[in-house]
């Protein structure tokens, strides 16, 4: 429960840390599109190079990045196995009942797992290098046009900010409640599905009670800080596009072009080199 790396800022002064939050948000969306565009292994390698480059530039320790992968390891294994077993490939190596392990299946599941890993790495890079306040301010700024259709953009941003702030607090609280219930003899990891689900109830109820109490106090604290005092709220955090953002955008654009080019075999240009040709096929 302590390992909630998602949404945990890693302080630093790197190139990426200094980029504008809005630029990073847009680039992450571009990155996600890029991951879904990638078709063959060469384009996946290009996306990987993009991620590696981004990690190096942001100076986030590799161990920190790996931790975010560790958090989804079960999902990765599950996805990998399911795709491996159920893919209807032609070159079947092994078959039992409904399960077929085929060459195409292996390739497909490796790609799926790779895709998930790349997605998680790219997006956690955003949360590692951008403060939650930065992310919410950036989103608010990007959503500004929605104000004209009466979307309460600022309120949404404050809600997100508070949610991010309270995730670690509530997860710590879950730990405490679990410990207290264990001390009373509760057990959370034995018995069937139903009894395990039932065992969660003594955690959820105190958690909800405490969350509502917190919400009550928080609402008062917001009022005490004059929340909604004026529609002409000012901003402490200045956001400014700079050369870093331009460079980041150009870099990302270059990789998107590269991925598309690799997907399309450089429009036949590489056909000349027969020995690498097969790479484009997988």
């Amino acid at each position: 429960m302590k390992d909630v790396t998602l949404g945990q800022y890693y302080p630093g002064e790197s190139f990426t840390h200094k980029m504008d939050a809005r630029a990073k948000l847009v680039l992450v969306i571009a990155f996600i599109v890029m991951v879904f565009l990638a078709k063959n292994f060469l384009s996946y390698i290009a996306v990987m190079l993009c991620v590696i480059g981004a990690v190096l530039v942001s100076r986030i320790p590799v161990s920190k990045m790996l931790k975010s992968i560790k958090a989804i390891i079960m999902i990765l294994i599950f996805t990998g196995l399911l795709n491996l077993m159920f893919y209807n490939g032609e070159t079947v190596y092994w078959s039992w009942w409904r399960f077929n392990v085929s060459l195409e299946g292996i390739i497909f599941s490796v790609k799926m797992v790779l895709r998930l890993v790349l997605l998680v790495m790219g997006t956690t890079l955003l949360t590692f290098t951008t403060t939650p306040t930065g992310i919410t301010d950036g989103m608010e700024s990007l959503m500004t046009p929605l104000k004209y259709i009466k979307v309460p953009v600022h309120d949404i941003a404050v809600i997100m900010s508070i949610a991010l702030r309270f995730i670690p607090i509530l997860s710590e609280e879950v730990d405490k409640i679990m410990m207290a219930q264990k001390a009373r003899g509760a057990s959370f990891d034995t018995g069937g599905l139903v009894s395990r689900a039932k065992a969660l109830l003594p955690i959820l109820i105190p958690l909800f009670v405490s969350a509502f109490r917190r919400a009550d106090e928080l609402a008062m604290a917001l009022d005490a800080r004059c929340y909604n005092a004026t529609p002409n709220r000012t901003r402490y955090q200045v956001m400014k596009f700079g050369w870093r953002d331009l460079l980041g955008a150009l870099g990302t654009a270059a990789f998107v072009v590269l991925v598309v080019a690799l997907n399309n075999n450089f429009w036949g240009a590489y056909r000349a080199v027969e020995s690498v040709w097969w790479l484009f096929a997988v």
Binding site: P132, T133, S161, R165, D223, R225, T234, Q237
Partner: protein
């Protein structure tokens, strides 16, 4: 120690015959009754009372969160029941609550401190200055860019105080802001509060059920069952053992010991601080 030199004769907050009760449907629960008090500019006022004695209700009446059923509260001449002046009153009377975790809205300390001024529409450069000054006063400047999650309770509460100071209030009310802290955290907050009052001339209303936090006060109001049952300088209030007992409060250790010693026939005057007690015990033959 209790020189009223800082306290002026100008009332910042006035409560005049204020009563308030909570109503939900048929059920009415008594909040506070017939409260009369004035908070003077520059003074350190302590409101003492046990759980449920109406301290929080009074605090909320003083900053306009609640509006009296009868009577009137004015903040710098503004009636708190004036709907157009709600935010003016709130920004003038800053309130710090009990649980430090539930008062922070941002995940970076400087952004949290800036939240109040942002809401008030203060220009950016000015906010920057206020954040710097507020963190300086509470001694948390070096944590400016950090996250509040890893701080101790006392440190978090100091950030909460800074966040209120950044709105440049005239009065700071602390509603049991030490109640959830360990002894070290409590000491930190008391030191911060005293520094605020003594060095910065801030008017402070400290609400607590710990009598030892009231020792340094200029004036004390003792509450019980929604009413003010006694008031005055700490020495006067502490000496009235009967009414304190009736209000369910316990004297500070130094006072209790001095009383016991006097009872046992030693020549020890009534003491309210540890130093005083030590002094008079040392003087014994």
């Amino acid at each position: 120690m209790n020189d009223n030199a800082r306290a002026t004769q100008e009332a910042v907050i006035t409560a005049d015959g204020v009563s308030f009760s909570y109503r939900s449907g048929e059920y009415v629960s008594r909040g506070v009754r017939e409260i009369n008090l004035e908070v003077m500019r520059g003074e350190f006022l302590v409101i003492l009372g046990r759980n449920g004695s109406g301290k929080s209700t009074l605090a909320k009446l003083l900053n306009g969160f609640l509006v009296p059923d009868t009577g009137k509260v004015t903040v710098l001449g503004t009636d708190t029941s004036d709907d157009d002046k709600v935010y003016e009153v709130r920004s003038k009377v800053g309130m710090v609550f009990q649980n430090p975790d539930n008062q922070m809205v941002a995940s970076v300390i400087e952004n949290d401190v800036a939240f109040g001024p942002e809401n008030l529409g203060i220009p950016r450069e000015e906010i920057e200055k206020r954040v710097t000054a507020a963190l300086e006063i509470v001694g948390m400047s070096e944590y400016r860019k950090g996250s509040p999650n890893k701080l101790s309770g006392g440190q978090k509460q100091r950030i909460a105080i800074a966040a209120i100071l950044a709105m440049l209030p005239e009065v700071v009310i602390l509603d049991e802001s030490t109640a959830m802290l360990d002894p070290k955290g409590r000491r930190e907050i008391m030191e911060t509060v005293l520094k605020l009052n003594r060095e910065k001339g801030m008017t402070v209303v400290l609400i607590t059920h710990y009598m030892d936090e009231a020792i340094e006060a200029d004036r004390i109001f003792v509450m019980n069952d929604g009413e003010i049952v006694s008031s005055g300088a700490p020495r006067e209030v502490f000496a009235d053992a009967e009414s304190l007992k009736a209000a369910g409060l316990e004297l500070p250790a130094a006072s209790r010991i001095s009383l016991k010693l006097a009872e046992a026939g030693y020549d020890v005057p009534f003491a309210i601080t540890d130093e005083e007690l030590a002094d008079s015990v040392c003087r014994l033959k």
